[in-house]
């Protein structure tokens, strides 16, 4: 059987190679699809920390994805219109700089994750699922009913934001940027998985009583992981908004939460490269089946059902024949 690390290297090279080849052949659309996969995979990597390592079945991660998106939308729209965000007590202006936007997206989604996590993690099991879902929905409805930033219609940003030294409007350059972020975040999450904190988080998922007996507080460990997870989703949201040059409440809807979860599951819960594989499968299904039938989501549903019922280790699990990481 294939070793998981070899498989991961192969996947990584494939994801670098295909867009480069497409660039050579002038297949711009393929590059855009690959960029989309990177961005969605990034959100999946974020969720995977809460879900795969921490066992927290959150159906509210769209909130953090969307908050990251709106952080970009709000900052860029103010920069676009030259109207400051606020003048009193101190001046805050919009910006078109991606690094600044990303930092703010990470901070804002981190704060939201702290608030939602602090309340939701007081419970567990089915309560946790319903509560994260409900808080996600609260932010969704707020975005719809608050008219300042487009309400239900969302916000368009006409020109992609800037990154020092790159022309982000060139698809292959923007892809390279997204791919670099994804690689860096995957690397960070792998360090986290094997760190002291990673051990504590995984042990807490496997047996909370054990964590308490060694003198650690499960709530704190989970909350830290939930916030890290939310921050990565926030970053993914900001990058995704830049990819689409558009943000709308759809980013915040619970379907988005479900989709991010699907990426993780199709790939294989708790595995490092699962989100990338899962996002790729999702985007390709959408691309190819969507061309054949308007009702392609029926097939997505059936596939998901089959994976859940018969292949709990996801695709990477099938290829490496190891048990599901979350059993």
């Amino acid at each position: 059987m294939i070793k998981e690390t070899d498989l991961n290297t192969a996947i990584w090279l494939l994801f670098l190679g295909v867009p480069l080849a497409a660039w050579q052949m002038g297949e711009i659309y393929t590059i855009t699809l690959a960029t989309k996969i990177c961005v969605l995979a990034l959100a999946g990597v974020g969720l995977n920390i809460a879900l795969g390592l921490g066992g927290m079945v959150s159906l509210g991660h769209a909130a953090f994805f969307g908050i990251g998106g709106y952080a970009m939308g709000i900052l860029a729209s103010h920069a676009q219109s030259y109207a400051p965000i606020m003048e009193t007590p101190f001046l805050i202006e919009g910006t078109k700089s991606m690094p600044v936007i990303w930092v703010l997206a990470i901070i804002m989604s981190g704060i939201a994750a702290l608030a939602i996590g602090a309340l939701s993690l007081r419970t567990n099991g089915a309560y946790f699922i319903m509560i994260t879902l409900a808080f996600g929905q609260m932010i969704y409805f707020f975005a719809i009913s608050w008219p300042a930033y487009g309400g239900e219609d969302g916000l368009s940003i006409y020109v992609r934001n800037d990154f020092p030294g790159l022309n982000t409007l060139v698809p292959i350059q923007f892809f390279a940027l997204c791919f670099a972020i994804l690689t860096a975040v995957i690397f960070l999450s792998s360090r986290l998985e094997h760190s002291r904190f990673g051990m504590a988080l995984q042990a807490t998922r496997q047996n909370e009583t054990r964590t308490q007996a060694v003198g650690l507080t499960p709530y704190k460990i989970r909350l830290i992981a939930f916030v890290i997870s939310g921050m990565i989703c926030g970053l993914a949201g900001a990058v995704s908004a830049d990819l689409n040059r558009f943000v709308s409440p759809t980013m915040l809807s619970w379907h988005t939460s479900g989709e991010i979860m699907i990426f993780v599951i199709l790939g294989g819960t708790g595995r490092l490269f699962a989100p990338l594989v899962g996002a790729a499968i999702y985007i390709m299904l959408e691309h190819f089946l969507g061309g054949v039938s308007d009702y392609w989501q029926i097939f997505l549903g059936l596939l998901l059902l089959m994976v859940v019922l018969f292949a709990p280790g996801g695709v990477i699990g099938l290829l490496t024949k190891r048990e599901a990481a979350h059993d």
Binding site: R191, L192, H194, S195, R196, F197, G198, M199, A200, Q202, A203, Q206, N207, T209, R210, T211, Q212, A213, V214, G215, L216, T217, I221, I224, A325, D327
Partner: protein, 250 residues
């Protein structure tokens, strides 16, 4: 000898049921204090109140000179209350060594470190390995917990507790499910261990209890009906009645 653990007049009720009725109990350094009693006597409830899973309705629990009644379980563990469980509580997907390292990590306490691999952390590994040596489980270090036998899990629980260098042990039926040989080995081990830290032992295996305990307390219907040396307990008429009476009913 000083009291490391001191339970003062705790009571706990669930509805009309008095699970703990004004229980006082102490643990002195160097001793094994066994807690026995028929099923449903309230042993688990009592252990839970000492370990921090349940809060007593009244009374207090003191540990190492500190009132710990309102502390949660993790805080009590950090103060040095080591615990093994009636049903093994381990991280099943982690290896034997990882579980032990996790124990060491817990007592170290510095958990917010996200970069360096924990399994290359020399001080933690050393503590973990020596604990595994002591319980005789070093040769199984690389096995996942889900793969090892029931008896080995019991040994591992003791090893994890050891990594925490506890001031006292709380052991809930450590002999349960061990074969005769296993019980005997563990009995020998606990006899040595008590010099290091005293043990409050809940146990059904009467041979082990009478072989090990310096003191025995008998819990029946939430109350301690007798407390004393094994010889005292053996000849105590109340205890005989409680046990025989119970056997007569079932």
């Amino acid at each position: 000898m000083t009291d490391i653990l001191d339970v003062r007049a705790i009571s706990k009720s669930f509805g009309a049921l008095k699970a703990s009725d004004n229980i006082s109990l102490s643990l002195k350094s160097g001793e094994i204090h066994a807690l026995i009693g028929p099923n449903g006597a309230g042993k688990s409830t009592l252990i839970n109140q000492i370990a921090g899973g349940l809060k007593p309705d009244s009374g207090s629990v003191h540990f190492a000179g500190q009132d710990i009644t309102s502390l949660a379980a993790p805080a009590r563990a950090r103060l040095g209350l080591g615990r093994t469980f009636q049903i093994s509580q381990l991280a099943p997907e982690m290896t034997v060594l990882q579980n032990t390292v996790f124990g060491a990590l817990g007592s170290d306490g510095r958990v917010s470190r996200f970069w360096h691999p924990v399994m290359k952390d020399k001080p933690l590994l050393e503590i973990a390995r020596s604990a595994l040596e002591r319980v005789g489980l070093a040769h199984r270090s690389g096995e996942r917990v889900s793969e090892i036998s029931h008896g080995e899990r019991r040994q591992l629980e003791v090893a994890v507790a050891l990594t925490q260098k506890p001031k006292a042990f709380l052991m809930d039926e450590p002999m349960a499910g061990l074969g005769h040989g296993g019980s005997e080995r563990l009995t020998g081990f606990l006899r040595d261990l008590k010099q290091e830290a005293p043990i409050l032992l809940v146990e059904h295996d009467m041979d082990a209890v009478f072989a090990l305990a310096d003191r025995i307390s008998v819990l029946v219907y939430g109350r301690i009906i007798a407390s004393g040396t094994p010889t005292d307990i053996r000849s105590n008429p109340l205890v005989r009645e409680a046990y025989l009476g119970d056997e007569g009913e079932t």
